[in-house]
């Protein structure tokens, strides 16, 4: 095994100084503590591997953040490229051949005026979460990306290397399913 000739750099010092910030950042960006752990671990391992490339032009923290951010983007890139089995069934579930709503799947009345309070309702939040979790992984990620990455559609597509059409079509399917799930489990209950 190659010895890391890190000169004056003491990686374990970086670990004690920067792990907290990196971890907290990763948790915010992926909304999953286990995954965030893995990403931060991989970040330090990658740093150890290419420590010679660290010239001190940037601060260690900036350098580590850039590695971590690459890992986060990579994670999302892989996720949005996953194939989804039910992809083509969604439209035929909700629409007839002419593209009109099927009667039984038509959006019902949610009493829109009360919606403001609903978002504070713990039970409603839990129904929404259940419905989000029930989506295929890739769709779940795509509907959350805007808020996790804090970016608009064009930026998301650029970073993840997918076409805008592809992206909003995924979101379209996801939202059809999500809306229906929330209606079935909350408004009709």
């Amino acid at each position: 095994m190659r010895k890391v000739a890190s000169g004056k750099i003491n990686l374990s010092e970086w670990v004690s100084n920067y792990t907290e910030d990196l971890y907290s950042w990763a948790v915010h960006k992926v909304s999953d503590t286990e995954l965030a752990r893995d990403l931060v671990q991989d970040t330090f391992l990658a740093a150890a591997e290419k420590i010679e490339g660290f010239k001190g032009d940037s601060t260690p923290k900036t350098w580590l953040y850039s590695i971590l951010n690459h890992k986060i983007i990579d994670h999302y890139r892989k996720k949005v490229k996953q194939p989804v089995k039910v992809e083509n069934q969604v439209f035929s579930t909700f629409f007839d051949e002419g593209g009109d709503w099927k009667k039984e799947r038509m959006p019902g009345n949610w009493n829109e005026d009360d919606e403001g309070h609903l978002l504070d309702d713990v039970e409603f939040q839990s129904v929404l979460k259940k419905c989000l979790d029930a989506l295929p992984d890739k769709w779940n990620t795509c509907v959350k990306l805007k808020y996790l990455m804090n970016k608009n559609g064009d930026e998301i597509c650029q970073e993840l290397d997918i076409s805008p059409t592809n992206f909003w079509q995924i979101v379209h399917r996801a939202k059809l399913q999500l809306r229906n799930c929330v209606e079935e489990n909350w408004f009709k209950n």
């Binding site: 330090f44 591997e49 909700f94 939040q125 809306r179």
Partner: protein, 84 residues
């Protein structure tokens, strides 16, 4: 069907597109006309925007100082393995 008229499938697609991207002038007009005639898609739009709000309120998972300590130990262990 006339070119300007959208199906509900297409109208809901544009509703989702608009949440993340700009619509063209033609698309805006098409969607407006469709919603004027279709109460189901009008409801869909309100509900979809509402769901976006709900999604944006998502809770960031919490971790404890112990989790963090454990992570640091784990990383140091991995680094030690890597360096030996």
């Amino acid at each position: 069907m006339h070119k300007l008229f959208l199906s509900c499938l297409k109208a809901t697609e544009l509703i989702e597109k608009r949440i993340h991207f700009q619509l063209s002038a033609k698309e805006k007009l098409q969607l407006k006309m469709h919603k004027a005639m279709c109460s189901a898609c009008s409801s869909y739009e309100k509900q979809s925007v509402f769901l976006e709000k709900g999604i944006s309120f998502h809770k960031i998972p919490e971790y404890t100082p112990e989790d963090l300590q454990e992570l640091k130990l784990e990383i140091n262990k991995k680094l030690a393995e890597f360096e030996s």
